[in-house]
Symmetry: C3
Subunit: 215 residues, 3 copies
């Protein structure tokens, strides 16, 4: 729904707010990554925009629907303005790596759930909804990490893909049960994803790690 | 063709089997790459799925046809299950790097040929069929290597792009000559690609290498 | 317009020439990057083709229009032939890094302007035209740098994104004012982009750099 005139129903409004929050926190995480690599202002803003819009762009291209920011240009503006503001803001920050992780976790949680929900509504199966939801939530961060020259957070051992998969699966399961109002289902799935990811960061949790015979 | 009810003709069945083999060996190569980087279970499974489906996904997006795994979800399941099984299997392996190369070579050979064949059947020219075939066969591995933080095998000096180009060209040439049954043409092209790539690995062959005046 | 029979008007012809120049210089820059990483002949040619066509491919996929080289195969041939010729040519070169930067700057300037112009003509807003123009001009180089294992030039601190954004904005502004002939507008925008980028390279100019509180 458009930014000023509002949405048609509560569900749409909730998803729209989550969308805007996701765009802003991922843009912020892009600027933090740019700070670690001493990029310049416009490099940082480009990285902010790519991180914020990358997951949804890949989702829309694969589903062959119009890329969301072509029609709703304000997503780009929110990402760019957040990028510029963050660029000057981070000069007063002292814990950038932890902040990047938390911003990324919030973006991950809202985008996984929004992506899964949108694809379910389009009539796809649970499998596709979960895969596309995980993709929506993770690919912006993957692009950010690859462009910054890092191994993507998604593939490291800190319960990242696990949190995304669980959140998407919780949404699909609660949606299929049909017991709870849809707004509540969305809020629970966001909460679960975020809680798993923040718990993994806080207590350094890790899933089983791949290793070879001779190790 | 669907996994249980079977295919309409022999050619379709051959291509379908090659497709499934390609998905499985590329998924396995993704888990091996994950093992080298000590990724966790779900990170490894995500990398397996992306490696297995990446080349075909890029091909379908560029040709603007429905992405193959949106309709045939079992491709994703095969990649994911192969990923989980491989994750536990590699704990008993001792020569992971060589195995990664061989699995990758098999995937390369079948996907280059399937990709070239599909694009020829859609009525595109030989040039486009070869380019799209090489892309189908190589981009999954490229994505795997980029996400793992390595220079893609495709661009290193071990006769990788050469094998893919030769295999695609052999298919196009034999197809144009029209002398041989199509199943045989496909099998020969897969064999040629695989033979060149494995020979390059076995005897450390290399094409001419780019170098500058001052070197 | 096709390579032999010519174009319908002067504007189309100017853009077409710029397009061919952009393809050739980006292909050359891809081979230079391949030389720095000692890739082999076909790896270098693949990198040349991907660098030359990457930006326009991503643009066409996002706009959901046919990818330009599917119909006009000669773009691929120009990239591939430039790649092979450059591969042997660079053996006689002595300043490859500077040359890579200059070739990249020319490709950037022409592709940013062509991309912006094309998207304006399709009826999109100034915001989308600028974003897509910057994408057309920069993504080929981004893919080249990521595949070579480098942080993209786009994100480093040498006035790269800044030059692209300024060039695209100049085109949109002059186009909106409607005072000048369109060929001149295009030529001015290319000149401005190139001048900013080359000046940044020559005098080591840099935009403000992202940094944290504790630095």
């Amino acid at each position: 729904c458009p930014p000023i005139s509002g949405c048609n129903d509560d569900m749409e409004e909730l998803l729209h707010w989550f969308d805007l929050i996701g765009i802003a926190v991922f843009a912020f995480s892009g600027v933090l990554a740019a700070g670690h690599k001493q990029m310049d202002l416009f490099g940082a803003v480009v990285l902010a925009c790519v991180t914020a819009t990358g997951g949804g762009t890949v989702r829309d291209i694969i589903l062959n629907i119009p890329v969301f920011w072509l029609e709703h240009t304000y997503y780009l503006w929110i990402a760019a303005i957040t990028g510029v503001v963050s660029f000057y803001l981070i000069r007063y920050l002292r814990v950038p790596m932890r902040l990047l992780m938390v911003a990324d976790a919030i973006g991950l949680a809202v985008f996984v759930v929004i992506g899964t929900q949108k694809v379910l509504e389009m009539g796809y199966s649970a499998t596709i909804a979960i895969v596309m939801g995980v993709m929506t939530g993770t690919f912006g961060g993957v692009i950010r990490d690859v462009l910054s020259g890092d191994i993507p957070l998604l593939l490291r051992r800190e319960i990242y893909a696990t949190a995304a998969l669980t959140g998407a699966a919780v949404l699909v399961a609660l949606d299929a049960s049909g017991q709870l109002p849809r707004e509540l289902v969305v809020a629970i799935a966001v909460f679960v994803t975020l809680a798993i990811r923040l718990a993994a960061l806080r207590w350094n949790l890790s899933a089983p790690v791949a290793r070879f015979g001779q190790d």
